[in-house]
Symmetry: C2
């Protein structure tokens, strides 16, 4: 396994793979890898000749007052995990090489960036789309892998890829979950013991929504109200949003119909957790 | 010479050239080719194994009330010129394939898009950056060629290319001019006989600026005032702007110093012409 820090070195390698007709599987991450990332890496390993994992905590996708500075950094451990998983290259550029002094170019996926997390994290998806565009140009992957935990992110990236005609395929894999079904997240490390225990209420709330819809409930606000009621039982939990939207355009649904996404963001103290579930009514 | 209309066909060809290690020279145009375009094509021919010219009148870079609908369309003649110039592929996609119904992704080069033409054509450079990003992903050029007549466009594209790490090189070639030094432009075709004659005042005004600076004038507003005075002699001319900016960041210069760009946009009736000159004080 090779660790590459320089952008042009990575780009030269990528060009070589293209010339050799080798397929490159790419897993972009912010490090602090967990079983969710590893499921993407394993899939990339199965599908491709070469596997590249990027580890880059992207300043452009953090807002003011968000957790850019304290975001977990575990490079040593990440290297070990990648090596064990058969990764060929780790690409971990410096922030100052990715965003040079006169940096000023941004990619925006206008409509899909608006709802859900976009409402509470202005500029977040612009930062995501921009860094993914950059990484695609540097790594030139054949297939890039994203997790469904960031469902809106996956949609934004997929839309960008289609709209800008990137010669890249995107695969989105299911959410990896802990034993109590809490969605795997690098941010779970922020939680204290009580918060960690309470956080299992989030997948419970999603399962409640699933049950209600399967039992025939079609009124989105009824489902959301019941989810809120459940989450209220966790003392430290503070709901930022619970939304039911169509799974393609992320438009708010009053009446539940077709393929929908139930998505939520909930604060536990200073830690913001997200989770979601796709389902068909 | 092959004419390709389908995006995925062009993309498949491009992938093949990458695999074969062939260099691809790319000249993006809106058609109605003139000697300026041809100088880019000739250079692309000299530098590369394969030459691709795109002909696409990009709706995203025209504002409301601008000349998208009446922009000259001369496909037959363009094909002939390209064939004679040794072009291998003309790529001419349909607007509806380039901007599908749910299209919503835009690339913006924030600061460089603001001054000069950007002030009068809001959204123009966003449209330019977006279509160039798309075309780069479809054609995957080794080198792309732009004319210096659209000096701000060349800077915007170059900045985008650097900021987003496109694996593409950019070459910017000098302005091609008519016998009376009017800058070649597809829009010159809009001019009536009198306007066409009067339009030679634009390069004259730039030469005046050149002379003044060489003679030691360092006050930008004095130079601009004298240029305006000269252009006023043309009855049909209506100045939109004359600006003196630094040649890198396009910041307004009060005192002329270092490498500068003298740029102007002038209306002749309903026709808006631009021209510029780079010079060093």
């Amino acid at each position: 396994m090779k660790i590459i820090k320089k952008i042009n070195e990575m780009q030269t390698m990528a060009l070589g793979f293209r010339r050799q007709g080798k397929s490159v599987g790419f897993v972009p991450t912010m490090g602090a890898l967990h079983a969710g990332h590893l499921s993407l890496i394993r899939r990339a390993r199965t599908d491709n000749d070469i596997v590249v994992v990027s580890i880059f905590i992207n300043p452009a996708q953090f807002g003011r007052g968000e957790d850019y500075k304290r975001y977990p950094r575990k490079l040593r451990q990440d290297y070990q995990l990648c090596k064990k998983a058969g990764v060929d290259f780790i690409f971990c550029p410096s922030p100052s090489s990715m965003y040079t002094q006169d940096y000023q170019t941004y990619v925006e996926v206008v409509r899909l960036s608006g709802p859900l997390c976009g409402r509470f994290r202005p500029g977040h998806f612009r930062g995501v789309a921009t860094v993914v565009a950059k990484l695609f140009h540097i790594v030139e992957p054949t297939i890039a892998y994203f997790g469904l935990k960031d469902a809106q992110q996956a949609l934004v990236v997929d839309r960008m890829m289609q709209d800008l005609n990137f010669p890249v395929r995107i695969k989105v894999l299911p959410i990896a979950r802990e034993k109590d079904l809490l969605a795997m997240s690098s941010r779970n490390a922020y939680l204290n013991a009580r918060q960690r225990k309470e956080a299992a209420i989030l997948p419970e709330a999603l399962l409640l929504a699933y049950k209600l819809v399967k039992q025939g409930e079609r009124n989105a606000s009824v489902v959301i109200r019941k989810m809120r009621g459940l989450i209220r039982r966790a003392k430290d939990a503070k709901v930022q949003y619970i939304s039911i939207v169509d799974a393609k355009k992320l438009k708010q649904q009053k009446k539940i119909k077709g393929r929908i996404l139930v998505a939520l963001a909930v604060w536990f103290g200073k830690t913001r957790l997200i989770d979601n579930m796709l389902l068909s009514a």
